[in-house]
């Protein structure tokens, strides 16, 4: 099995990628602006809900329950979807999902090269790199979500799971559209850019024979599937083509239609700060005379079952991809999404990407967080992301310690030494004294400004106040020696 998550296998470590992202002022301005806007809108829409915490709890309960009975609900969904005229395919990994899709497209669309298929935003297809696979097979995927279009036409990568082109501003988007759509006169007014996209896609919607969608949920009890969107491109893709192929991660299943009443309240408010997004499409198999007359679902594992075993890790699969944690994250805010080296960025990406691939890639991501807890606070299904991050850090450290390089790494040696020192207060005090003497050679104007080794990461851009001549501990001991005398004297002074 080969689990692929976007381009994680080629991605540099987070600190390195982040360093170059931080140099891009335009990117940082764009990201800060966008995340500020969504954060504020979300806060407004959450505040008006008196039962928000109850909805979060209900969402968390439903997801935990579903995952605990995932085999049951997957089988139930597949049965009901097929009873309604759909066909369900199962894909162990990215390659299998892509070849199922390619075979279906060939079956219905023929083998003529350059066959166009229209796509509505699906992160899962980015995860399996479906567009690359389709292109390699001579099929032309056309992204129809405005942001996805910007990313596709700009030969870029998504930087956010809900607003994939959030790192681009209007001028940058205008330049991409001018070049790729052949519209040299196009202005950077969002209305004009949106209009250009509408015209560019209209014909393509009408002539495409095959559509590809993701799904925000699949309902086991009814076999239904749903897409949550705003622009209407989703409705176009799931309505106009003769054939619809829907790619769904196995964790997206929900037990009953009634469970939607929770997710459809929390998802839009968390994702875009809207009470409700403009469109939700829910369909069940094939409806004679209405929409695609051939409907195929691809249920994708691609590493998801690896997260089920451990209960802390399993929480990750509760994610409904709202992106609220990205918008709330102070790290994401500085770097944007590309630094994570995965199509799943931000806090959820930092736990999802490494786990899907058994920590083979994205190993630096669990450390790309200050554990400030902002992600957990906004998560509509209460995923305790900081807890999962710490858990994954533990796994990375344990694995590293099994290798010689890991054992001898500066970090491991330092952490082992400090742990030994902390186990005995005499050693601790001795270390404090030693550091006080040792630091003198690094002092400049009473500050530590240029420490060696890992501490150098600190002092490159920050000062460090030296360890004081007398620590609290020393002061306390001295005071205890003088005992009551000191205390009485102090009391007198105060009186």
């Amino acid at each position: 099995m080969s689990v692929i998550v976007g381009k994680t296998s080629q991605a540099p470590d987070f600190p390195i990628a982040a360093k170059s992202a931080l140099k891009n002022d335009q990117l940082r301005r764009n990201v800060a602006h966008a995340t500020n806007v969504i954060r504020n809108k979300r806060a407004l829409r959450v505040e008006e809900m008196p039962d928000w915490e109850d909805l979060r709890q209900a969402g968390s309960d439903i997801k935990a329950h579903t995952l605990a009975h995932l085999d049951h609900y997957l089988e139930e969904f597949a049965r009901n979807c097929e009873l309604a005229g759909g066909k369900v395919h199962w894909a162990r990994d990215a390659d299998e999902a892509n070849s199922i899709a390619i075979n279906l497209i060939r079956h219905y669309g023929g083998t003529e090269p350059g066959l166009e298929v229209i796509k509505v935003k699906t992160m899962t297809s980015d995860e399996v790199q479906m567009n690359h696979a389709l292109e390699a097979a001579g099929i032309k995927p056309i992204e129809t979500d405005l942001a996805d279009m910007i990313v596709q036409l700009g030969h870029d990568e998504p930087s956010h799971i809900v607003v994939p082109a959030l790192h681009k501003n209007r001028v940058e988007i205008r330049d991409i559209f001018r070049k790729q759509m052949g519209l040299p006169e196009l202005t950077e007014q969002p209305e004009d850019l949106t209009n250009a996209a509408r015209h560019y896609l209209r014909d393509r919607f009408l002539r495409a024979k095959i559509g590809i969608s993701g799904a925000n949920f699949a309902i086991a009890a009814t076999g239904s599937v749903g897409v949550v969107e705003s622009e209407g491109n989703g409705r176009m893709c799931v309505t106009l083509p003769e054939v619809l192929i829907t790619l769904i991660g196995i964790e997206k299943v929900l037990p009953t239609f009634a469970d939607l009443e929770v997710i459809l309240q929390t998802l839009p408010r968390s994702a875009t700060g809207e009470r409700m997004n403009p469109y939700n499409s829910i369909w069940t198999g094939v409806t004679p005379g209405d929409g695609p007359q051939a409907f195929h679902v691809i249920l994708l594992d691609n590493g998801r079952t690896r997260l089920l075993e451990d209960e802390i890790e399993r929480e990750t699969l509760a994610c409904i991809r709202c992106g609220a944690c990205l918008n709330a994250c102070p790290v994401y805010r500085e770097t944007g999404g590309h630094a994570y080296g995965s199509i799943y960025s931000g806090p959820i990406g930092a736990i999802l990407s490494p786990q899907l691939q058994s920590l083979e890639h994205s190993r630096s991501l669990p450390f790309a967080s200050t554990l400030c807890g902002a992600c957990y606070e906004v998560c509509p299904v209460k995923i305790n992301i900081p807890e999962v991050l710490i858990h994954l850090r533990g796994r990375v450290v344990r694995e590293d310690q099994k290798t010689l390089g890991g054992k001898l790494s500066a970090e491991n040696i330092a952490m082992q030494t400090v742990a030994t020192v902390f186990q005995d207060h005499r050693r601790y005090e001795a270390a404090q004294r030693l550091a006080r003497i040792g630091q003198t050679i690094f002092k400049r104007d009473g500050q530590l400004t240029n420490l060696p080794g890992m501490a150098g990461g600190w002092t490159r851009s920050r000062d460090l106040r030296p360890i004081p001549k007398q620590s609290f501990r020393d002061w306390w001991k001295a005071r205890d020696k003088n005992g009551e005398e000191t205390r009485e004297k102090k009391a007198e002074e105060r009186a």
């Binding site: 209900a58 605990a68 942001a147 969002p190 009408l206 209407g232 409705r235 009470r275």
Partner: protein, 212 residues
């Protein structure tokens, strides 16, 4: 082993819990959030209108059903639209004279493209979110006719308006064999610098005619 068997086997081996009854366990999940609205009828309708306006929908209010044709005419006249699509079973008595109403007898897309407006009924509506819910059947039309025209005019009976989403979802729960679309305002995007732009691919205008 087929992919299906292998994935299910992975799930089962990962869960390693004693098999229990999922249906009973699901029924035991607590629902402490609000499932039933608390507002009076009047306040609920007021909220609905407020939320529709907030999301750029247009509203026409009538009381008697006999006033519906006039309201439809007004909605169409406003945009200088002469032709509109309706489902074949749409009640003819509700349609105003002086316009061309094209019946959707399984029309090909090419004949739908180019018609500026569509008139439908709906299944339910949600006040708290300003949402109308279509179950694509009967006078609510096929999905395609509610999607291609630039202007969607939707009749909503006042009794169809629920305060909260869970109430409306309960009302439509038995109808999932038909495609369902929930619509909250006109098509929109915020993908460019988070500026909300009305009208991308779906109808750029949504007019709700509230009656009954």
């Amino acid at each position: 082993m087929t992919a299906r068997e292998e994935i299910l086997a992975r799930v089962r081996s990962a869960l390693h819990t004693a098999p229990s009854d999922p249906v009973a366990a699901h029924a035991r999940l607590s629902h402490t959030y609000n499932r039933i609205g608390k507002l009076s009828r009047e306040a609920c309708l007021e909220l609905f209108i407020d939320r529709l306006v907030d999301y750029d929908s247009e509203i026409l209010q009538v009381t008697a059903e006999s006033e519906i044709p006039q309201a439809i005419a007004k909605a169409l006249q406003h945009a200088d639209e002469h032709r509109a699509l309706v489902a074949p079973v749409f009640p003819a008595a509700c349609l105003p004279p002086g316009f061309e109403f094209k019946l959707d007898n399984a029309l090909p897309t090419s004949e739908i493209e180019g018609v500026a407006a569509v008139v439908t009924t709906c299944e339910a509506a949600v006040a708290a979110t300003g949402t109308i819910i279509l179950v694509h059947d009967g006078a609510q039309g096929r999905r395609v006719i509610t999607l291609m025209p630039d202007h969607h005019i939707c009749l909503v009976h006042r009794d169809q308006v629920f305060e909260l989403l869970p109430e409306a979802m309960t009302a439509i729960a038995g109808r999932t064999t038909k495609p369902i679309t929930t619509i909250s305002g006109p098509s929109a995007t915020s993908d460019i610098e988070m500026t909300r732009i009305r009208g991308v691919h779906g109808p750029r205008r949504l007019t709700v005619i509230l009656y009954g």
